[in-house]
Symmetry: C2
Subunit: 401 residues, 2 copies
């Protein structure tokens, strides 16, 4: 290829978003509107948000209002269901990691908690410790340990123990014949050609990877959990980051073949790394993000030192031209964590007009995020092994059709 | 292709022997010596048989003496182990079918029973009802039902309930986390390319088939059954029909990578169909074999009517030239079911010399097989649901290192 062709290619190339890789190409990060087109999902627009508010009688979560949850599949069937007094359940999950979780990991869980409260429905959380075995050089015992430790981090978001079931695959699949039976039903509907097309698997991939999608798909069918739903067929809503969508595109195809309801989806954008929207927020780079176990001092230092600034090189230039809130990471984090819309609009105006300097904006970000993390840490301290066992117990939830 | 080329091809073509198809090309059936070369296993020769007798202090089973169990992998490591007072366990299985089992299905189980008695070791029997889901258009409930019904047929062979654990995958995998964890460890060692090479899977195969070999492999590792073996690593001997060898070639490769003992194998030939050695004994063709629930009258009629004869067209010609015991199915069945070596040799001599007619030979076959089936049926009548539960209970066996 000529250099020109290579340049063309990198210009034309799409953002990479799949369950294993997320990388935006431009300084403003991933082009989510383009992603909606590519994935064939629907945008969460004013109309969807209005419908959410009408049906629930509650103000929409700021993640919805601000496009942080930006895309959906079939959310109207869930809203219709709720409107007619019928029930659904929530399913989300996480591939556990040995590192502490960072605030980016919490976004789908914070939103899921809100959904659980607003709709008063059961929630199922899957920890795919088996996935880690297949994709990483990790031992079964270590993967289980990571899942249990991550579960405590998730529980501390504040889920309702009477209505939330958390499981890790390495233990639960061996405790629930219905799970394995549904895995088989799903595996029977999907060919290697299909997972090749959807996930990019190849001939030299291990057979465990090839079949893994059936394991993330199974919990989207209520018949996987007879101890919760009996043999009732209950529709499912999956709030998740957009990179998990391939699993559920597959699941929706399979659902049609199994004559089960297709899961609906709500897709989240990614919280960008401190270094800027085109960087991946890595759980293994301590400076890329704010971690759930960071001290106030660490939070302050990281934001001051690493948070990419949309400000101008000099104070004079900044006063004159104003800051760029589009690329400013402190501002971006405020859109995720500062709930007050008026205050956010005011900050935006002050920053873009040059009245607010980068240092001031960073201080607001620090003062907003620090108490959120401190509150979280206070809850986390209370998540004992006993509390964890409560969430992991195979039991009925508050579910009645 | 020209007709000549097609003829050439069918002459050169190997017998088909894989887990889903068994078909011999010549009138004498499958060429088992050729199969040993193709599969790379070892012949069970006089030396192996003598070693069996020396180590166990018992006369070798007639299935060994007559080449019905004809091939092995690593049987010497099992014999060495036993000789030094150490333990191993037996693992065999069956893909359940809705039809009644026929006497051909019993061969590996009859031999396994003898092995269990001679070596006094635990036995694990897997019923792959999940395999039926993946390969056939069958429902989970029906496959489980078939497994339970087949289990009763197997139990009636006469296994020791204190030392035999029977399970069906559809229930057991969801009751034993160690099973799923070992499946994963195996799936991590095997690529799609490998199962393609070993089993002939292709891109349009469902992902369940692609991963199924890990499910037949897992029980060959003692760590799959912590309730029996604790966390002890105990070697395994698999008696099975030769068509299952591909699973265990794969398992032996995986064992090396997991640093676990490679399972040893003893391979059985197939009991031919009544219609002749080149026919497949089908469980769905009631006239192809003798079924375990056949009446004495049915047995008599089937052998008289269908058992392919090695006799001559006329009595005169038979008296003159003698019968061909190589292709005679009644005689073949006697090699499987008539234990008395001297009597068998005498029959062979009389038949081949023309002194014994086909009708007489058939009568001996009927008189030999009928009481075996009747005894079996008497035992089968006593296998209640209670007895079945005993074998299926997840429990310790008589195992001590």
């Amino acid at each position: 290829m000529t250099e020109e062709q290579i340049n063309d290619l990198s210009l034309n190339e799409d953002d990479v978003v799949d369950p294993w890789n997320v990388a935006g190409k431009s300084q403003t990060g991933i082009d989510y509107d383009k992603l909606i087109k590519r994935f064939g999902s629907q945008k969460i627009d004013e109309e969807v948000i209005a419908r959410f508010e009408k049906v629930t009688g509650k103000r929409a979560h700021h993640f919805l209002r601000r496009g942080i949850f930006f895309s959906h599949r079939d959310i109207h069937s869930i809203l219709n269901l709720f409107e007619s007094g019928k029930k659904f359940y929530l399913y989300t999950g996480r591939g556990p990691s040995s590192d502490s979780m960072h605030i980016g990991h919490m976004i789908p869980f914070m939103f899921t908690k809100w959904l659980q409260e607003v709709f008063d429905v059961p929630l199922i959380i899957q920890l795919t410790d088996d996935e880690k075995i297949l994709w990483r050089d990790i031992k079964v015992e270590d993967a289980r340990q990571m899942a249990h430790s991550n579960a405590k981090d998730i529980i501390a978001v504040g889920f309702d123990p009477s209505n939330t079931f958390i499981f890790n695959d390495l233990d639960f699949i061996g405790q629930c014949p219905a799970f394995y039976q549904n895995m088989l039903r799903i595996q029977k509907c999907v060919t290697f050609n299909q997972v090749k097309g959807i996930f990019g698997f190849g001939d030299s991939d291990i057979i465990g990877k090839i079949t893994f999608p059936s394991i993330e798909a199974a919990p989207a069918f209520s018949t996987t959990f007879p101890f919760i739903f009996g043999n009732k067929v209950v529709p499912c809503l999956v709030p998740c980051a957009i990179d998990q969508d391939p699993y559920f595109r597959m699941t929706r195809d399979v659902a049609a073949r199994l004559k089960l309801p297709k899961p609906s989806l709500l897709h989240a954008t990614f919280l960008p790394a401190l270094q800027g929207a085109q960087h991946k927020m890595s759980a293994s780079d301590p400076n890329a993000s704010i971690f759930l176990n960071d001290t106030p001092k660490q939070i302050k230092n990281k934001i001051n030192k690493y948070a990419f600034s949309g400000g101008q090189p000099t104070v004079e230039e900044h006063r004159e031209k104003g800051g760029n809130s589009e690329v400013d990471i402190s501002f971006k984090y405020l859109t995720f964590f500062l709930e007050d819309d008026d205050r956010l609009a005011e900050i935006k105006k002050l920053y873009e007009s040059g009245q607010m300097l980068t240092g001031e904006l960073k201080k607001i970000a620090i003062d907003t995020i620090t108490p959120i993390i401190q509150d979280y840490q206070a809850r986390r301290a209370k998540v004992t092994d006993e509390v964890m066992k409560e969430f992991f117990a195979i039991r009925k939830l508050n579910f009645q059709l």
